[in-house]
């Protein structure tokens, strides 16, 4: 899937549609073609961490210089549940064989949140929402205040230290403008990264997770497909084979601006206490005068 039918980008009335990713980790083979394609297309600097010992993962986490990150999780079935089942059957647990090990691989990316903390708190307007619903930093406007970094509940956006500005995935906005799929989705050989109109992707994902659960993947679940979650749903959501935290993803992300009204109310109350307190202590009575 390199080019999309022009009809995919716009509604019949010519309105741009909300585009996004469905990353189906059940078919990810850990080839990292997405990481490479992203770096190549976007000119993202190298940030090799060296040999980490974290399975095949040497890029470690998303950041200013890593916009696609393939996570590798090795799992062996020696957890409590296993003992539980065996205890019930009255047998001793057998040593796990190589057959019992499993690899979870998942290509992580900026979630392009419906309610994006980074965008909400950006004081320069450098971060904006594109016509395709993606969240993009304008590099010529960003002044490096770093506020977006602590407002992202996923630890995605980061300041590049030698540059001073914040960087993250753009959903390949430049390619979108030209009707091309993002570089990572184009490079993905198994269609683990699927790009398209978000509503269509959600339908497709619902069918896929149903299929996997029926096939015995009891923990298969969608992550970020629910428009009612703490960030209003992700523009880039995932099908995971285990709990989100296993992949280093927060299980219940909440945009920090959700409680803004209460925070400002409390600040107002504290300001009131400050003024009233000082006035009283210098000898002003509430009715004015001394």
């Amino acid at each position: 899937m390199t080019t999309l039918d022009p009809g995919a980008w716009f509604t019949p009335d010519g309105e741009p549609r909300r585009m996004g990713f469905f990353t189906d980790t059940s078919v990810c083979i850990g080839c990292k073609a997405c990481e490479v394609a992203c770096k190549e297309w976007n000119g993202v600097p190298s940030d090799v961490a060296g040999f980490t010992g974290m399975s095949f993962d040497n890029t470690v986490a998303l950041g200013a210089d890593t916009w696609r990150h393939v996570a590798f999780v090795e799992q062996a079935p020696v957890g409590l549940e296993w003992f539980g089942e065996d205890a019930a059957a009255g047998t001793a647990p057998a040593a796990p064989s190589a057959q019992d090990l499993r690899f979870l691989m998942s290509s992580d990316v900026c979630k392009h949140c419906t309610r994006a903390g980074c965008l909400d708190v950006c004081p320069t307007g450098a971060i904006f929402r594109t016509e395709f619903g993606s969240v993009v930093v304008q590099e010529d406007v960003c002044n490096g205040c770093g506020y977006c970094v602590s407002a992202c509940p996923f630890g995605v956006i980061e300041r590049r230290e030698d540059d001073g500005r914040a960087f993250k995935c753009t959903l390949c906005y430049d390619r979108s403008k030209g009707g091309l799929e993002p570089a990572c989705a184009t490079a993905c050989p198994t269609d683990s990264i699927q790009f398209g109109p978000l509503d269509e992707l959600r339908d497709r994902a619902a069918g896929r997770v149903e299929h996997l659960v029926a096939a015995g993947q009891s923990r298969a679940q969608l992550y970020g497909a629910d428009p009612d979650d703490g960030v209003g749903g992700f523009g880039a959501f995932f099908l995971l084979l285990d709990r989100p935290e296993v992949y280093g993803l927060p299980p219940d992300p909440v945009v920090p601006t959700r409680d803004a009204a209460r925070m400002w109310r409390m600040a107002g109350a504290a300001a009131g206490v400050l003024v009233a307190g000082i006035a009283a202590l210098v000898g002003l009575s509430p009715r004015g005068g001394r």
């Binding site: 470690v60 957890g79 320069t124 406007v141 956006i157 300041r159």
Partner: protein
């Protein structure tokens, strides 16, 4: 792949999030920000004190507070600008007005406040332009309380659970600490006969700060883990609280002999000192690690530093601005001492 394959061995990635890595990024703010919180708080509360004192007929105290506010108001923007990754682009903050961004609100607030406070202080010092001075002082006093407390909103707009969770009490911590600083500064600058109200403001501010902090920690519960134990954040928090308590007690003990205390006592006895001391000593928190919760609910992703001393990000940023490469390696290869969500090191 058996159906039971989801169970993970102890020490395997699933048991500790993703290789014990933090979910969140370390906030990018540098040492300037906590200093700015202090100077902004000192200035804002001083402007209020100045106008209140003048309204109450205490001219010398009004003068002292206005003169204290001016330098603090003057350095605040400089601190805020030098914290930026691209300081030369600071004006980009004034190209938009965004109520959803506390930093945008703060930038506008400070741009309006700083010239007024500096102007009022300068006119006071030089004894010129009384009308303009009064207008500027009233303007600064109107904006001052906002400058003092918006910084709490700024901090709480944060994915870091310990800061986000402090959203209700943090404005009161900041208001108390600002009042303590402003009261202390005016107490030192005003003639003894006029300084008594400033002493009262300083005491009340110190008490409010301590009480609000306690309430905040109570509410945070397990999230307050970084405040307990022996980490740098906890140590600094204890120092800050101890100094605030000592300063407040000294100010209270000064009582009728305020003048003598003031003439003899070094500034470190002033209630203003503790707050600043807490801030000066800001240090980095231990490298935050994340543990995902064993199941279900969102856990504190990380709990990097203590807002206790009102300058949490000093601790989380300045000294530990690690080269990404090194951190990554040590985090993955180093001994597994990760801060659990219950605050115990393991």
């Amino acid at each position: 792949m058996s159906a039971a394959a989801g169970g993970t061995a102890a020490g395997a990635p699933g048991a500790d999030g993703y290789y014990g890595r933090p979910v969140l990024k370390r906030p990018a703010w540098t040492w300037e920000v906590p200093w700015y919180f202090w100077t902004g708080g000192l200035a804002g509360a001083s402007s209020v004190l100045s106008v209140a004192a003048r309204a109450a007929g205490n001219r010398p105290l009004a003068r002292a507070a206005a003169i204290a506010a001016a330098p603090a108001a003057a350095v605040s923007p400089a601190l805020l600008v030098s914290d930026l990754g691209r300081p030369e682009r600071f004006l980009n903050m004034l190209r938009v007005f965004r109520p959803s961004s506390p930093l945008s609100m703060g930038a506008w607030l400070l741009s309006a406040y700083a010239p007024l406070a500096v102007g009022a202080g300068a006119a006071e010092l030089l004894g010129i332009l009384p009308r303009t001075r009064t207008a500027a002082a009233v303007g600064a006093a109107a904006l001052g309380p906002g400058l003092v407390t918006y910084t709490a909103v700024l901090l709480a707009h944060n994915a870091v659970p310990v800061w986000h969770g402090a959203q209700r009490e943090l404005p009161f911590v900041f208001a108390g600490s600002a009042a303590a600083s402003a009261g202390g500064a005016a107490f030192l600058l005003a003639p003894a006969a006029a300084a008594e109200p400033a002493r009262r403001v300083a005491i009340a501010g110190g008490l409010l700060e301590l009480a609000a902090e306690r309430a905040m920690e109570r509410r945070l519960g397990p999230l307050a883990a970084p405040f307990e134990g022996d980490g740098p954040a906890a140590r600094l928090g204890r120092w800050a609280r101890g100094l605030t308590a000592a300063g407040t007690t000294l100010a209270a003990a000064g009582g009728g002999r305020a003048g003598r205390w003031r003439r003899r006592g070094p500034p470190c006895c002033s209630p203003a000192a503790p707050a600043s001391a807490g801030r000066c000593t800001g240090r980095a928190s231990p490298p935050p690690r994340t543990r995902a919760p064993p199941s279900g609910r969102s856990a504190p992703a990380w709990t990097p530093a203590s807002p206790r001393a009102r300058d949490p990000q000093a601790r989380s940023t300045r000294p530990v601005r690690p080269a990404p490469v090194r951190v990554r390696n040590s985090a993955t290869l180093g001994p597994a001492s990760s801060l659990s969500r219950h605050g115990t090191y393991r």
